[in-house]
């Protein structure tokens, strides 16, 4: 609170400058990078058509027609200026691979699922991971808990999608057979049940939750360990702080100390990580989404990259970039509010 107004404005200006520079440079990169790969998105589109129908006659003529339509015959500089201009308007254009769907529509449809899935799993991972980490480090944790937790960390060493396959196999396929039930415990695929209309209705919401449990679990299972280890380290650092000593001398209740003294201090650095995860979450969970046929951004981007669908790659990654850069910006700006020790005066 020692910062003068001028300093704050300079600080804000610098941070905003870095933000804009990052977004611009990244946007330029995602313009250039996909174009580096040999291969023509339109020809690829026609090739996929030929996979369906065997042989596409006059493919060369069709390719030319669509190249013209997407302005791909223009010099790269003109394409770039047009691209930046459109981004500035937040106009993401049409998808090449699935014309005439606009990129906005495709992202608009994928985003809620990804945000839903990621938000729940990130928050759950964060809460569970930090809780477990806190338990691991806390002196008063019963010994059996401390012995039980480390084995669960083994999941941390399994790639997320393998956990997804395993969960799918057990909970959607085998378990109900072993238990002699007629229906699987969890659905095999998709984001909501067959025949349900998306809308604000209990059956729909319940179905979304039911469909979300396995994907969320598979993400949480493989990720919580990282949070737990970080939290444990922070907790142990805090444990050695002088104020912990005083807190015990004060005769406070153990839980009170755990929450108000230990966790509150230990969790601060973790919040930075949380903000970053939230910033990058719009990117989705490619592998998990693919395995559960979850209609989110991960699948969208993965398909777009493999099809070299420039507009979709650019649009979707642009949203990720803006999301990540915003998260970084917000951490810089808001962290002083969370941690009273740090002021804007910092270097």
């Amino acid at each position: 609170m020692t910062g003068k107004l001028d300093d704050r404005i300079t600080f804000l200006g610098r941070k905003l400058g870095v933000f804009l520079l990052t977004v611009w440079t990244s946007a330029t990169l995602i313009f250039i990078i996909p174009r580096l790969a040999p291969g023509d998105p339109i020809a690829a589109m026609i090739a996929r058509m030929s996979q369906q129908s065997g042989y596409v006659e006059n493919a060369d003529k069709i390719i030319e027609g669509w190249r013209e339509r997407f302005g791909l015959n223009d010099p790269p500089s003109i394409q770039y200026v047009r691209y930046l201009g459109n981004l500035f308007h937040f106009d993401l254009g049409y998808s090449m691979a699935s014309f005439p769907a606009t990129v906005s529509v495709m992202i608009g449809r994928a985003l809620p699922w990804t945000v839903g899935l990621s938000l729940v799993s990130i928050l759950a991972t964060f809460l569970i991971g930090n809780f477990v980490g806190a338990l691991l480090a806390w002196q008063k944790t019963p010994r059996w808990i401390k012995l039980c937790i480390p084995p669960t960390m083994i999941f941390t060493s399994i790639p997320g999608m393998l956990a997804a396959v395993a969960l799918l196999y057990i909970f959607s396929f085998q378990l109900h057979r072993w238990l002699g039930l007629s229906a699987p415990l969890f659905p095999l695929r998709g984001a909501y049940g067959r025949g349900l209309e998306p809308g604000v209705s209990w059956p729909f919401i319940l179905s979304v939750i039911h469909h979300g449990i396995l994907p969320v679990t598979s993400i949480v299972l493989v990720r919580f360990g990282y949070w737990a280890l970080g939290m444990r380290g922070m907790m142990i650092t805090v444990e050695g702080e002088d104020y912990m000593h005083l807190a015990r001398a004060k005769g406070l209740r153990p839980f009170y100390i755990l929450y108000h003294y230990m966790i509150r201090n230990a969790i601060l650095p973790q919040i930075t990580g949380l903000a970053l995860s939230l910033g990058t979450m719009v990117g989705g969970q490619v592998l998990v989404e693919i395995i559960f046929s979850y209609p989110g951004m991960g699948t969208l981007i993965y398909t777009a990259v493999r099809n070299q669908d420039f507009p979709v790659i650019q649009g979707a990654t642009f949203i990720i970039i803006v999301g990540t850069a915003t998260a970084v910006l917000l951490i810089d700006l808001l962290y002083p509010l969370i941690d009273p020790r740090i002021s804007h005066q910092g270097k």
Partner: protein, 334 residues
């Protein structure tokens, strides 16, 4: 006042020397250490922080995998990892597959649906995964150290630039870049793969090392070194580096497992090296062939088990190194 000669003294005496400074009557120790720490370390030669069971067991696990990679090829015909060298879909010894075939000792871990021997795959694939991770991490951490030191030590515009670069690398989705670079590269081998992964392995270490260097730059002994006219290089590598060593080791190991995970992810999407047997590649084939459904658990299970072993080993090493770098963690686990 008699100034004691330092050369012949032990560390303990030096300590004593400072505890009773001639300036005041205070029995003052700036660290306010209590008896439980500090002294113990120098009293027993086996009591060094590096003698840490997590570090040792982790190293042992990773070491065993490396040894299997080195000596396994003398004990087992590793040509069997290639397509069509064995009967298809055999289960491990003692099990039966869905067609009623039983496992044989000529393929003790079973085979998969292209006739690759799972034991040979393990012998070749596990060290390959480690190799990719180590190479990628070496490059990544190398760049991280270089840029982190430059950034943290020089500061100013250079610092801003490096941070920006790191920020951009973090924001651009790696999958996109990796897939595209792969299409530009003629043939993907282990080292190409590792180099590709290193492109995304450097920003993390760079930023963290930068932070550490910046805080160390302000610390007493570095200031002292600077005042005594040491060159920046000497300060970097003579003063700061040794103090960062356990920390660097830990983040190197972290980077190894991160790179292995990334490599396995790419391989599992079918984007790995072609004729080089890798664990991720095996998973790709297994998933594409619905191995779980076919009850060919060994096909997925063996690579997952090996990967878990590798990750567990690395995790243990990392935890051990963490404890060495941060004595409080050590205290908490004793």
């Amino acid at each position: 006042m008699t100034k004691p000669t330092r050369t012949s003294r032990t560390r303990d005496e030096d300590k004593l020397d400072t505890t009773t400074s001639p300036e005041s009557a205070q029995l003052y120790d700036p660290d306010n250490q209590d008896l439980s720490q500090g002294r113990t370390s120098s009293l027993n030669r086996w009591d060094t922080p590096w003698f840490n069971w997590k570090l040792i067991s982790g190293t042992a696990i990773v070491g065993i995998i490396v040894l299997i990679g080195i000596f396994g090829r003398f004990l087992w015909d590793t040509e069997l990892v290639y397509v069509g060298k064995c009967p298809l879909n055999l289960p491990p010894v003692g099990f039966e597959n869905s067609r009623g075939q039983t496992g044989t000792w000529s393929h003790p871990f079973g085979t998969e649906n292209s006739g690759r021997d799972m034991l040979a795959l393990t012998i070749i694939g596990a060290p390959n995964s480690l190799l990719v991770g180590f190479v990628a991490a070496t490059i990544g951490i190398g760049i991280g150290i270089l840029l982190g030191f430059i950034s943290g030590f020089i500061g100013g515009l250079t610092d801003d630039l490096i941070r920006l670069l790191a920020g951009i690398t973090i924001t651009v989705p790696s999958l996109l870049v990796l897939i595209i670079i792969q299409s530009l590269v003629e043939q993907i081998g282990l080292f190409t793969m590792a180099t590709l992964l290193a492109v995304f392995a450097w920003p993390g270490p760079t930023l963290v090392i930068r932070g550490q260097v910046m805080s160390m730059r302000e610390s007493g002994y570095v200031q002292m070194a600077r005042l005594s006219g040491a060159s920046p290089l000497r300060i970097m590598f003579g003063e700061i580096m040794p103090n960062l060593l356990p920390y660097l080791a830990a983040s190197f190991i972290g980077s190894v497992s991160g790179s292995i995970l990334a490599a396995v992810g790419l391989e599992t999407l079918g984007l790995g090296p072609q004729r080089v047997p890798t664990l991720g590649g095996t998973l790709y084939f297994a998933l594409e062939a619905a191995a779980l459904l076919r009850n060919m658990w060994w096909w997925l299970g063996i690579p997952i088990f090996i990967l878990s072993l590798i990750f567990m080993g690395l995790l243990l090493i990392n935890l051990g190194l963490d404890e060495i770098a941060n004595p409080r963690l050590r205290k908490a686990t004793e």
